[in-house]
Symmetry: C2
Subunit: 577 residues, 2 copies
């Protein structure tokens, strides 16, 4: 029939092509027309017309990775810098949940993130945040709130494809008429095809059933086998992040062949880990190392995430799908040789690959977001009943390996009507409202695998992003917090009133405009300084920054004080005066 | 915690509950609140509050069946009569494609079908027909046409959840700017989450790839292993209808564990078969008899069809899903004991179950749709070149077991300038335009497993529903056609100018308002009469009625004459004069 038979732009011949439907590789050719795959098979390619023919020399050809639960802001980078690094790792599509910037700038923050994403090589979709603030303004102060009006405003944007993680499971379960249930109902009624993403650590049984009943049918929080088994049994789609990847969990998924019921996600990735260890590709490789067949691990990072998000145009190598794919020489080491986006080569291992930073890419006010005067030592006094030698205090206990905390009761000496915590092994933890709304300061005590001397302060503090500080003494806390205020955002580590490490986060106090490489280097230095002060956690920065996130169990702190979401209330620091 | 812990309306305890996620049965209880399942599990049901408790006595509890590719009109019944019979068979949700009534009444026909469906116990969703007429007005005359404007008008209705079967694969593949490609592009752009259903018998290789490339990713036509294998490999979802259920096809699906890639559908069910043999439940049982595990056959008739259609609120027994389920005493015989719709008992084997017909439920003009005067024998003359003793003619060959036809060349004697076909074993096939548009008559010859004497005429004739007649002699054809005209719709069988059997189809010439039982009885009589006249097909009525459907291969006839869609043209009856 000659070339009139099939016009194409590019042909990749002689590849081992991943087939998501059979979960197998086949020796095939593929052809692309106008950014989409138009042919996969083994017919005579001489009949194709107009196509550049590329010999894949037997390489593996798999779909670009798709990460459907993550937060760009967790890497403290802009969408542009993020995309650059994604592509090098074969990740061609992400669904980011911008609740961090939404806490700081509301709708405007999300709109700016979407705009930033539009210039990128990777496709960046977003979830509309459902939980800003993470709990309610009763428990924390944020820059902005997202409610149904804001969601309406955002849903006109076709880059928004899901309702972002519903975090306040307490209200979902216990208060049918709560704000979060109204949002979920609004979405189900008006956008029935839009996935509703969940965050429901640990809940089980009837509580879990009620959470799902309301319409939330995924969970990306840390799983162990029993929690995952029950979630899958009750119809939840499980988004497996690295901390859920235990041998037990992975073996269970393999044993029961639950490949339709989960995908791999990164959730939060620190910039240095991103730069050095990779992104979703790292989890795929890890799953394989843990015994998952390559065909299944690829499925969990391409096909099921696309299906979960209704992204029918990707996630497989088949006619009509986008020409987003990766070429690999070997499956074992998973070294990415080339990456194609919509049929165009966007990364080649042998070519130079550099990111050109863009500065001042956000509106001016995004660089003046810390609205708070310097603090002083008097701000850090914790009053205690006069006449008592000591009091029992509720203390947050941090443990390595988790961002969940425990509650402990410690005796703390009292002197001159204040807690003499500096005389104990405990540290202070403090949150300083920074949106110019009320000037709140929440004070508490912390112990466990946190620092043992000096202080660290951060304006990157889940999810409210007030300034959070932990310190062994008042002077260092004051120095660290005031440095963050002066810099208009960042993380600073101080010991003996000397700065030991830091990173500037000038965009809303949460993002840098540097490359992932540079942010990674700075973050590594901050982490190193924290470890030098005694922080023993596998991820000290994440551990620090989530001590202010009340939806994560058990005892947390905000600018309003200590929060115990399992009891849905603020609790006192001093339990017995 | 007591009953404040969980308010429910009904509890079914002690059931063997089908779990779609593990594809297993578990001994569990379920609870319903406001029509939806709120709990599945084995916790203490004393903690439920307000619920009627029903003991299932160990029965199997499975989701209501979901049939996503079918046409109510094929049973020649109204939605109400159809729903009544569905429920008895455990089918609680259907997606009907109303292109039959759309060919007759356009948008108004579809709207009336949707209205009818709203009163029903079963949930009746619709696809918006993409292919009305099935090919183009160049090849057939219809009552109405559906184009983008009509689709826009219909899409506001939330009962419309997919684009109905795209049939004109020739235009899809060969004419990027054709009407059908414009419709598909319009849907993909404006309703990216809406499934686009396909009809692409037999095409393979590059043609199939191009069809899928345009965005159509399912096929429900008759499959054999090679066609199905290639479709699945290229990303198509396969809707297995009964004629595809060969041992080879079923064994292939089982061997390659392709349970995510297909569902069972009924497509077209004659009323008598529906009444006597059941509906989707019959296919589920048949799949099991052919070796498919019950858990997999149930999956293919509940879970995958719901997922394909984006019906996230059903297809499994899990929190948040509708309380649509079936109780069965045994899996083997699949005898339906009880059916629940949204938590309410709607069928119980031991209770009386009768349908109360509703007459004149459609607008008045729906009962006056055959706009054509009586025909006479002169209308049936096929002119032939004078002076020839015989000519070679293109003849449609009908074969038992399929609705595909073949083309044969036969010598036919000529006398007085006309074909003397009555002197041969051939029959005449004729199509009479009946919308008052042009009065066209298409004449052809037919052979094979069709009738051997007498005549049959029908106003139910896929998809244009002009009057189609097949007969061994002119007198009987005239009698049969004129009876259909006089009755304002129906199917009539005539021999020696005596009516041997018939059914009235007063609504648009295609539907009766009787119960499935009554329609079934009448249809059986029509079929019996056809068989008596020599029709040898397993489904003579379907075979007859699809002889005028040009999208089904190979040679077909419309009011415009013989159509060969594989060559995209009308062809002459006399090939050599």
């Amino acid at each position: 029939m000659g070339c009139i038979n099939m016009k194409v732009d590019i042909v990749i011949k002689n590849a081992s092509v991943y087939n998501a439907y059979f979960k197998k590789f086949f020796e095939e050719d593929i052809a692309i027309l106008e950014g989409k795959i138009v042919y996969v098979g083994k017919e005579d390619i001489d009949e194709f017309c107009g196509g550049t023919i590329i010999d894949a020399e037997g390489k593996y050809l798999i779909p670009g990775f798709i990460d459907i639960h993550m937060h760009i802001e967790s890497s403290m980078a802009t969408p542009q810098a993020f995309s650059h690094e994604l592509i090098r790792n074969g990740v061609t599509t992400i669904v980011s949940e911008p609740h961090e910037i939404a806490n700081v700038f509301g709708v405007k923050g999300i709109v700016e993130m979407i705009k930033g994403g539009e210039e990128c090589v990777a496709d960046i979709f977003y979830g509309v945040p459902s939980s800003v603030p993470s709990t309610s303004l009763e428990f924390e102060t944020t820059g902005f709130e997202i409610d149904i009006d804001e969601i309406k405003e955002l849903m006109v944007n076709d880059k928004i494809i899901c309702l972002g993680e519903v975090m306040n499971y307490y209200d979902v379960i216990h208060h049918p008429k709560s704000k979060i249930n109204k949002i979920v109902e609004y979405m189900k009624r008006n956008y029935p095809h839009i996935p509703i993403e969940g965050h429901c650590p640990k809940i089980m049984g009837k509580d879990l059933a009620k959470f799902i009943y309301r319409g939330i049918d995924s969970d990306h929080t840390q799983q162990r086998v029993p929690s995952m088994e029950e979630r899958i049994k009750r119809g939840m789609f499980i988004e497996i992040q690295e901390k859920s990847m235990t041998p037990e969990v992975i073996n269970y998924l393999i044993e029961y062949q639950l490949f339709e019921q989960f995908c791999l996600v990164t959730d939060d990735v620190m910039a240095d880990s991103f730069y050095n260890n990779g992104h979703l590709n790292k989890l795929v490789k890890k799953a394989m190392e843990m015994g998952m067949a390559p065909e299944d691990a690829i499925y969990a990072s391409t096909f099921t995430p696309a299906r979960r998000m209704g992204l029918t145009d990707r996630g497989a190598i088949a006619p009509g799908k986008l020409g987003d794919f990766i070429l690999l020489k070997e499956l074992e080491n998973f070294e990415i040789d080339q990456v194609y986006k919509e049929g165009k080569l966007v990364y080649h291992r042998e070519d130079e690959y550099k990111y050109a930073c863009k500065y001042n890419s956000f509106p001016r006010e995004f660089y003046r977001s810390i609205k708070r005067q310097e603090i002083n030592k008097d701000d850090l006094v914790i009053k205690a009943p006069i006449g008592k030698g000591e009091v029992s205090c509720r203390v947050i206990k941090v443990s390595d390996g988790t961002t969940f905390t425990e509650e402990q009761i410690h005796s703390v000496p009292v002197g001159q009507g204040k807690l003499m915590w500096e005389e104990t092994p405990l540290c202070m933890i403090a949150v300083f409202e920074r949106y110019g709304r009320n000037g709140n300061i929440g004070l508490g005590l912390i112990t466990g695998d946190t620092i043992k001397r000096g202080a660290v302060a951060t304006s990157y503090a889940h999810d409210h992003h007030n300034i959070l500080a932990v310190g062994k003494n008042v002077k260092d806390i004051v120095k660290a917090v005031n440095t963050v205020i002066e810099k208009q955002g960042g993380i600073y580590v101080v010991c003996d009133e000397v700065i030991k490490g830091g990173i500037d986060l000038p965009v809303g106090g949460i993002l840098s405009e540097e490359s992932i490489e540079v942010i990674g280097r700075d973050i590594a230095r901050v982490r190193h300084s924290m470890v030098e002060l005694g922080y023993k956690h596998y991820n000290p920065i994440m551990s620090l920054c989530t001590n202010g996130l009340p939806v994560s169990q058990l005892l947390k702190i905000t600018d309003k004080g200590l929060v115990k979401l399992s009891e849905n209330r603020l609790v006192d620091l001093i339990v017995e005066g």
